[in-house]
Amino acid sequence: MSVPTAVSAERHAAGFFEALAPGGRRVLFGLAAVAICLLFAFPVFWLVLTSLRPGFAVYYVHRGTDFTLDNFHDVLAQEIVLKALFNSFMIATLATLLSLAVTATSGYMLSRFKGPIPNTWFSLIYVFRCVPYVSWVLPLYFVTRQLGIFDTYWGLLLPHVAVHICFFSWIMKGFFDGIDPSMEYAAMIDGCSRWGAFWRVAMPAAIPGLTALAILCWLYTWNEFLFALILTSHETPIITVVMAQFVHELGMEWHLMSATAVVALGPALIVTLFGQKYVIRGLKV
């Protein structure tokens, strides 16, 4: 007996959506979209709210309506925050440039060439991809110490680039798979070397994909916490780590942490807003 009931309930549900006028359906989808947006936007709203409250009022948001910009003033007056913002920006930008340079050539090789070298490279990337990200951290700490690059740009850049190569070479291969190789053959006949054909024909055709990847890469590095926490110290402060340092033995300075987070959100927001259409276009390829 239960089966027909289930079937009829399903029919009833399907009938409910079908019975709605197209306008009604649109309203329903609209409401669902708004609900989802609110769900994701609420923490950000709360973050901004906290960043604008005086320290003593953070826990009592329902009391009083004091709002202040002092938190931002305090945070931006700290040298370490400014230094961390600069470092994070530099690391994210340099890691993006380096990663793109390597992943573009690596993805191109995986897409276009067959033989022992691409096969070995493919297997290597695959193996490293299978290793959990967290388990890289401790060995990397010792390696950077040994190489004398701990707490320097290189000490953070190289691990980031290594991770990006493993994850983004595959995406890059997909972009190049979508580009007709006869365009490069035509270029080679038209007077280009193999490298010239890659650089002058395949790369421009991959620009939507490259832009998407650059944005993802930049945001990923900007937001990254674990590597920054383990592989840097006082010499090269990174914004995500500095943010976390407002939780200390004397208590938690939520207002300052929130203000720093809002400041750190700015560049990420700009990059996202600027790049979202490229990301969507690039990932559609």
């Binding site: 006869s182 270029a187 080679m188 007077g191």
Partner: protein
């Protein structure tokens, strides 16, 4: 302008042989078509001439210069690809100029070359557009333009018409012929379409499984196919084949097969007539069969049952069943009403018969 000579060229991928012992001399300004089913090695051969594939063994020379070790850019060739291969991020004008700029040709000369090519191909209004704004036919014309601006020694065409619809393909075929007259250049054209091969080529190279089956003019291939494969591949509708055995009876050769028995002149196969148990295959083109019994001594008759008719407007193609084989007859009056199941007699002149060895498929008699 140059000759292209391929000498014992081979190519293998692992254990698979793609091209075997390919030897061919293409004359200056000659238009040669490589034709065959997919996987026959025709595109691989073309790509070896272009330098896009390494040559396994043998030599290829262009204009008297061995090009085995030369980069594609140094071979002075131009190539048109199946999917046009236009540079999507450049305008049509830049697509045409790309090869010339790479060769550091002065800009005024480039402009003149582009203007001339655009005029020949009627693409002047398209010069400032991007390739993706063009139709398939227009893109193919731009791809042709990219070749002719360079004025290379050799044109290579890799199935350039197969992405176009039937009507456009026929039109582009004509345009290609016209282009040949205006810009006569040594050309190698690869296609799987025998109509393109017949209409465009000065000579045709038929390939199968990496081996050259026959090289000749379109008419020679049509009239004297070297083997059963070429006979079946060239010509539309395809040649009818009937298997049987020959016996000698009272000074006549009798060919007997499933559902037919034909009396042939004793000299038809010369000394090559393999009588007895030797199986052979007889081929007749649908165009050489006509409805009705034999009208003279040089005619042979076949009887069968009408299976289907295909109306083409200017003619009908009729298929009759003889034994277990369908035999097609082309050029039947389109107004003739024929009911399936009717018994029909058809005839052909003995001079139009082709004979092939049933085992090797080799031709047994040279028909004029």
């Amino acid at each position: 302008m140059a000759e292209v000579v391929l000498d014992e060229v081979q190519k293998s991928y692992g254990r698979v042989t793609a091209v075997q012992d390919f030897s061919l001399s293409i004359g200056d300004r000659e238009f040669v078509v490589l034709v065959g089913p997919s996987g026959c090695g025709k595109s691989t051969t073309l790509r070896m001439i272009a330098g896009l594939e390494d040559i396994g063994a043998g030599t290829i020379s262009i204009g008297g210069r061995v090009v085995n070790e030369l980069q594609p850019k140094d071979r002075d060739i131009a190539m048109v690809f199946q999917n046009y291969a236009l540079y999507q991020h450049m305008s049509v004008r830049d697509n045409l100029a790309f090869g010339l700029r790479n060769r550091r040709v002065p800009e005024p000369q480039i402009d003149a070359a582009i203007a001339q090519a655009a005029r020949i191909l009627s693409i002047e209004p398209l010069l400032d557009r991007r390739p993706r704004q063009l139709s398939g036919g227009q893109q193919q014309r731009v791809a042709l333009g990219r070749c002719i601006v360079r004025n290379p020694q050799v044109f290579l065409f890799d199935e350039p018409l197969s992405n176009l619809d039937a009507q456009l393909r026929a039109q582009m075929r004509l345009e290609l012929k016209e282009l040949r007259q205006r810009v006569p250049t040594t050309s190698v054209f690869v296609t799987h379409d025998q109509v393109e091969a017949m209409t465009l080529g000065d000579r045709i190279v038929v390939m199968k499984d990496g081996l050259v089956q026959q090289v000749g003019t379109p008419l020679a291939l049509y009239r004297r196919p070297a083997n059963r494969f070429v006979a079946g591949f060239i010509g539309s509708p395809a040649m009818n084949f009937m298997d049987g055995r020959l016996t000698m009876e009272d000074d006549r050769l009798i060919m007997t097969g499933d559902g037919f028995s034909l009396s042939l002149p004793p000299t038809i196969l010369g000394d090559a007539a393999p009588t007895g148990q030797h199986a052979l295959c007889m081929g007749i083109r649908p165009q050489h069969l006509r409805l009705g019994g034999p009208s003279g001594p040089g005619q042979l008759g076949l009887g069968g049952t009408l299976m289907v008719t295909e109306q083409l407007g200017d003619e009908q193609i009729v298929a009759i069943r003889v034994g277990d084989k369908d035999v097609r007859i082309a050029g039947v009056d389109p107004d003739l009403r024929l009911a399936p199941g009717t018994g029909l007699e058809v005839s052909a002149g003995v001079e139009n018969l082709h004979f092939f060895d049933a085992d090797t498929g080799e031709r047994l008699r040279a028909t004029t």
